[in-house]
């Protein structure tokens, strides 16, 4: 293959997974090519115009702490930002931004363009070039060959994509772009196990045609907020969203036309996500609910398109129009795009190593929706990990596998490669066993060092991070030593907050543990000015207030880490382990877990199988050292 263009890493696709993968690889110094079907659709949001939310918002911060791009771009281009779950505990608070879709894309494209080691190129990949089960490069539909030592596929919903509207079904990528067909065929021919998933999107309407007086306003927070731990200029000029509801008429229209919905007429075969049902699904499955929420979300500052969140549908266009008009506030709405359902091919993700490399083809990685997930954030997290790992492998460095106790990204990837998924996978906070440790506020504490080790965090930022860490630790130490006296000043502040008066002196940290107290009130009692930054003293507060719970979680984490340390040799022959139960043996052969902890999470592998495996591995170790 001489005379071809030669790269270290080639990324197929430039969606939310692709851009992170491409940036990570190129920033690690590797010559990287990113191929996309349409250069104008880099980091496109084909569905809702928002980034973040419960679990997902934490992923965005994790991506940032590891040196990814998503947080920085949304910080620059949002139209609204809100902290969710503020009334609940620190573990589940999450930031969510409404994005300016167009600006987001433009900003991301310009970041890619500025990256010296990264070439972005419009082109449709038709073929992977593989020799001896190892990836060598790609070939486009016009016959150009690009050699690459590693390839990352991030095709989203393009792989054999089919759009469905009523009884209409046609081959298409999202938003009526060219689908990727030849590559889909090749993956099947290579023997990859493929699943067919489905997702959908609602109609968009023109803002000028909405009667907002019939809706409720949903403003952003009035405090400046940002995802990234890097310095950001806050956007204070925010646009509101609006809340309305479906009406009885909407439900009548849907029921009367159900036979026309692709979902119910049998046109759709793919499995859709339960957490993102179409409005048809909601009306049918929860027919006792008189109305469903509809959020009207502006798609940007320079467009009048408004996303009708909650109305995802695969009804024919004329029915959609009737449905829209039956919603209070949208009686005269002018539809600009119809909603649609889309089916696409995804790989059964248990075919991947936790590095996101395929088990079948060496140096071939996949990330994002092709791995059975949904969501921009889930895609970004995987893209980043795939990019880092592809680069590290070529550089001969250790690969990065985040544990379930390190990050939501770790939970996500472990779930995928260990358990697989039978519907498009979305992160939920309840998927994490230790969500108290995986908070949005400590994402940088958890992951910045890893990002730094993998050369994606600058020296300057790392120094700032270390300073923050030191400040927090010093303050924690101090509050555990300072005694507060039960004088009139102290008692009055406690009383103001509805607490019971102190009988004796108390350590500042112990007083802070009381539910009614916060850091500010402790400083007031101590008559001191707050010198720490808010994100610093929030850490102090959380770590003191929830100390007992955090310690309990950490004990469990220790146990799991010990099991993670027990590696399973790569060449283990499960057929030689006689006493394993048949189901366990089958599952172990399929998943090929890297360590005992991962093995124990496979459904069908029970504790006895784990014990047997431990004995077997130990036997192997004894043999090796003996010989």
């Amino acid at each position: 293959m001489t005379g071809n263009m030669k790269y270290d890493v080639i990324v197929i696709g430039a969606g939310h997974a692709g851009v992170e993968a491409g940036l990570a690889a190129s920033r690690k110094g590797l010559k990287t090519l990113m191929l996309t079907i349409n250069l104008d659709n880099i980091a496109f949001m084909p569905c809702n115009p928002s980034v973040g939310g419960p679990a997902k918002g934490i992923v965005v911060r994790e991506v940032d702490a590891l040196g990814g791009q998503m947080a920085k771009v949304i910080d620059k281009t949002h139209i609204q930002m809100r902290m969710l779950n503020t009334g609940k505990g620190p573990a589940v608070r999450a930031l969510r931004a409404q994005a300016d879709k167009v600006l987001y894309q433009q900003e991301m494209k310009s970041v890619l363009e500025d990256e010296p080691n990264l070439d972005i190129l419009q082109g449709l990949v038709d073929e992977l070039i593989i020799e001896d089960n190892e990836i060598r490069g790609v070939k486009t539909n016009i016959g150009t060959v690009y050699e690459g030592d590693a390839v990352i596929i991030t095709t989203g919903t393009f792989l054999r994509g089919e759009i469905i509207l009523g009884d209409l079904k046609y081959s298409s990528g999202p938003n009526h772009q060219i689908p990727s067909l030849a590559l889909a065929d090749q993956l099947k021919d290579l023997g990859f196990e493929i699943i067919r998933f489905k997702t959908g999107t609602p109609p968009r309407v023109n803002a000028d045609s909405i009667d907002y007086s019939k809706t409720e306003i949903q403003p952003g927070d009035d405090v400046p907020r940002a995802f990234s731990f890097d310095k950001t200029e806050f956007i204070l000029d925010q646009l509101p969203c609006w809340l309305t509801y479906t009406s009885a008429t909407t439900h009548e229209i849907i029921t009367a036309n159900l036979h026309l919905s692709a979902m119910y007429s049998g046109v759709i075969q793919g499995t859709g996500p339960r957490y993102c049902p179409s409005i048809e699904d909601k009306v049918v499955r929860f027919n006792d609910k008189p109305r469903h929420q509809i959020f009207l979300e502006p798609e940007g500052r320079n467009t009048k398109e408004v996303y009708v969140q909650g109305l995802s549908t695969s009804m024919p266009e004329n029915v959609q129009r009737d449905m829209v008009k039956s919603i209070p506030g949208l009686e005269n709405a002018r539809m600009m795009r119809a909603g649609y359902a889309i089916e696409y091919d995804a790989l059964v993700p248990t075919q991947l190593w936790p590095t996101l490399e395929t088990k079948k083809i060496k140096n071939l990685y996949t990330a994002g929706q092709i791995n059975g997930t949904s969501g921009y954030e889930e895609a970004a997290g995987q893209g980043l990990i795939a990019g880092i790992n592809a680069a590290n492998k070529l550089l001969g460095q250790e690969e990065l596998i985040l544990s379930r106790t390190d990050a939501y990204i770790g939970v996500l990837i472990d779930d995928l490669v260990t358990k697989g998924t039978n519907e498009p996978y979305r992160l939920l906070t309840s998927r994490a066993e230790h969500r108290l440790l995986l908070r949005h506020d400590n994402a940088d504490m958890r992951l910045t060092e890893i990002g730094y080790d993998h050369k994606l965090i600058s020296e300057e930022r790392f120094a700032r991070f270390n300073q923050k860490k030191a400040n927090i630790e010093a303050e924690l130490d101090r509050l555990k030593k300072v005694r507060i006296k039960p004088n009139a000043h102290t008692q009055s502040i406690i009383e103001q907050r509805g607490g019971t008066a102190l009988k004796d002196g108390i350590l500042a940290a112990d007083l802070l543990r009381r539910p009614e107290m916060d850091y500010e009130s402790i400083m007031e009692i101590l008559s001191e000015d707050i010198t720490l930054k808010q994100e610093e003293y929030e850490q102090v507060e959380v770590q003191i207030k929830y100390d007992g719970y955090i310690k309990k979680s950490l004990q469990q984490v220790d146990k799991m880490k010990r099991m993670e340390d027990k590696k399973i040799p790569e060449n283990i022959d499960y057929d030689a382990v006689n006493s394993l139960a048949t189901e366990a043996r089958m599952k172990l052969k399929e998943v090929k877990p890297l360590n005992i902890a991962q093995a124990s999470r496979i459904s069908g592998v029970n504790p006895a199988d784990i014990s047997i495996l431990l004995v077997y591995i130990e036997q192997g170790n004894v043999k090796r050292t003996g010989s």
């Binding site: 809702n48 419960p54 679990a55 969710l84 779950n85 009334g87 609940k88 505990g89 620190p90 573990a91 589940v92 609602p202 996500p273 339960r274 957490y275 993102c276 049902p277 909601k282 499955r285 929860f286 609910k289 469903h292 929420q293 959020f295 969140q309 909650g310 995802s312 358990k419 939920l428 906070t429 309840s430 998927r431 969500r435 108290l436 539910p515 929830y546 719970y549 309990k552 979680s553 382990v577 006689n578 006493s579 139960a581 459904s603 029970n606 504790p607 006895a608 014990s611 047997i612 431990l614 004995v615 077997y616 130990e618 036997q619 004894v622 043999k623 003996g626």
Partner: protein, 458 residues
């Protein structure tokens, strides 16, 4: 290498006059010391010595058992870890209490085959035996899980399932609030809601544990009556049951071997054989105490063993008696198989829905079948003690203890107004532990519940 400390009863349950609770691991001696009271602390005695003393429950200061404690320090032990063996004599109930005390004070219940596994991992067992070790673990586990499964059938299982269901309802409501904060269709799960629900669960778990702690079933046994006409073999059956199964030494005052009641342990199920003296003396309970009184005894009985003679014809009295008793708790025993059959078994089979066991007790034939049948009926709930929902398996008791601690933690957090999602951590733990008792895979249930109960999503 020393692992965390494990504990289990290392002698077969219900057999032998001495039962041993064995501790192995890094804290074995320390844990034993928390419970042991003797001349010297176990941490101060020489290795490989046996020490006389008592096991005292540190929370109540009650003396539980008079024991001999063998202390063996690593590495010259079976597992190459510190080992303490507590030799008890007081019957199964006391041994269980000693085991529970070790579990409540820092030890973890040993998995099946775990002592042997450790022996291997610590290099005590020869490499060539690895295969045998793995087979051993497999067979021990299969056996243990079979027993454990049998023991959570029936009412206990339903009971725990309903407990888990109420926790799941709370969990789902909290999760929905977290993952879909704007979803307006479900009430915000408040701390006070959580508190009242959690207290209900705690009290239910408490009840379960109380019944097991009292060991009611183990002390009382299933009230069992052996009836039948003269000379059908009732006393042979009685004697056989007593010889074949170690009689239970009970701590109920006044019960001795040959007065009115006899205690036997059949495949781990305790039976209280009623009116045994009557059988011994007259060989005919029905005759001796009169029909009325025998009916009374039958009514109170939890298990009726109705013995018939294979060699006799079926009489109207047989039929009348069988008709008066509750089918569910009767086992028909067709004895004297060695003699010619004159009994109309077809009639019995077609008219009565009771298990029929064919025996020749004199030759010891068929008694195993009888014992297995008793076990089956007990575990599937057909026969049960007056207090039927109880836990007898140590592993289950241990899991329930942990569940109780965990729900207790949730309650104390709720009482000081900790945010619901933090309380949730302990609630989830409780729910998972209860799931372990009934052997349910918990991983996807909560998420399934979320999406089936609530209409979520954009």
């Amino acid at each position: 290498m020393q692992f965390e400390t494990i504990s289990s009863i290392s002698t077969p349950v219900g057999e032998g006059a001495i039962a041993i609770v064995r501790l192995s691991g890094v804290d074995a001696i320390e844990i034993a010391d928390r419970l042991y009271s003797g001349v010297k602390k176990l941490s101060e005695v020489d290795s490989h010595t046996i020490n006389y003393g008592h096991i005292v429950d540190p929370t109540t200061n009650e003396t539980v058992e008079e024991v001999m404690c063998a202390v063996m320090r690593a590495p010259k032990t079976y597992t190459r870890e510190d080992i303490v063996e507590i030799n008890c004599h007081g019957g199964i109930h006391t041994v269980n209490r000693v085991l529970q005390l070790t579990l409540n004070h820092g030890a973890r219940m040993a998995e099946p085959g775990e002592f042997t596994k450790r022996a291997f991992l610590n290099g005590r067992v020869d490499l060539s035996q690895a295969e045998a070790v793995m087979d051993f673990i497999r067979s021990k586990t299969d056996q243990a899980s079979k027993v454990a499964n049998q023991q959570v059938q029936g009412r206990l299982k339903t009971y725990i399932e309903s407990l888990r269901q109420s926790i799941l309802n709370i969990l789902a409501q909290v999760e929905v609030n977290i993952d879909y904060p704007e979803y307006d269709d479900v009430e915000e799960a408040t701390t006070s809601f959580l508190l009242s629900e959690a207290k209900k669960v705690e009290s239910e778990i408490g009840k379960l544990l109380k019944s097991s702690a009292e060991g009611r079933i183990l002390r009382e046994g299933l009230s069992t009556v052996i009836i039948g006409k003269p000379n059908v073999g009732k006393s042979s059956l009685l004697n056989y049951l007593i010889q074949d199964n170690k009689a239970i030494v009970t701590d109920v005052a006044g019960t001795t071997r040959d007065i009115l009641e006899e205690y036997v342990n059949v495949n781990g199920i305790p039976l209280k054989l009623v009116d045994t003296a009557g059988i011994r003396e007259t060989d005919d309970i029905v005759e001796k105490i009169g029909v009325e009184r025998s009916r009374e005894a039958l009514k109170d009985a939890e298990l009726i063993l109705y013995v018939m003679n294979n060699n006799d014809e079926l009489t109207p009295e047989d039929i009348e008696l069988l008709e008066t008793v509750d089918d569910k708790k009767v086992i028909g025993i067709i004895n004297k198989l060695d003699l010619e059959q004159n009994l109309d078994t077809d009639y019995l089979e077609s008219h009565f829905d009771i298990p029929l066991i064919k025996t020749s007790i004199i030759n010891g034939q068929g008694v195993d079948d009888l014992e297995n049948e008793i076990q089956r009926m007990f575990f599937d709930g057909s026969i049960s003690s007056a207090d039927s929902t109880y836990v007898s398996n140590n592993r289950h008791i241990n899991l329930l203890e942990q569940a109780k601690t965990s729900i207790g933690d949730a309650i104390s957090s709720a009482e000081i107004d900790v945010p619901v999602d933090i309380i949730q951590i302990d609630l989830i733990k409780t729910w998972e532990l209860l799931g372990e008792v009934i052997g349910e895979d918990v991983s996807e249930q909560l998420i399934d519940k979320l999406f089936s109960q609530f209409c979520l999503g954009k």
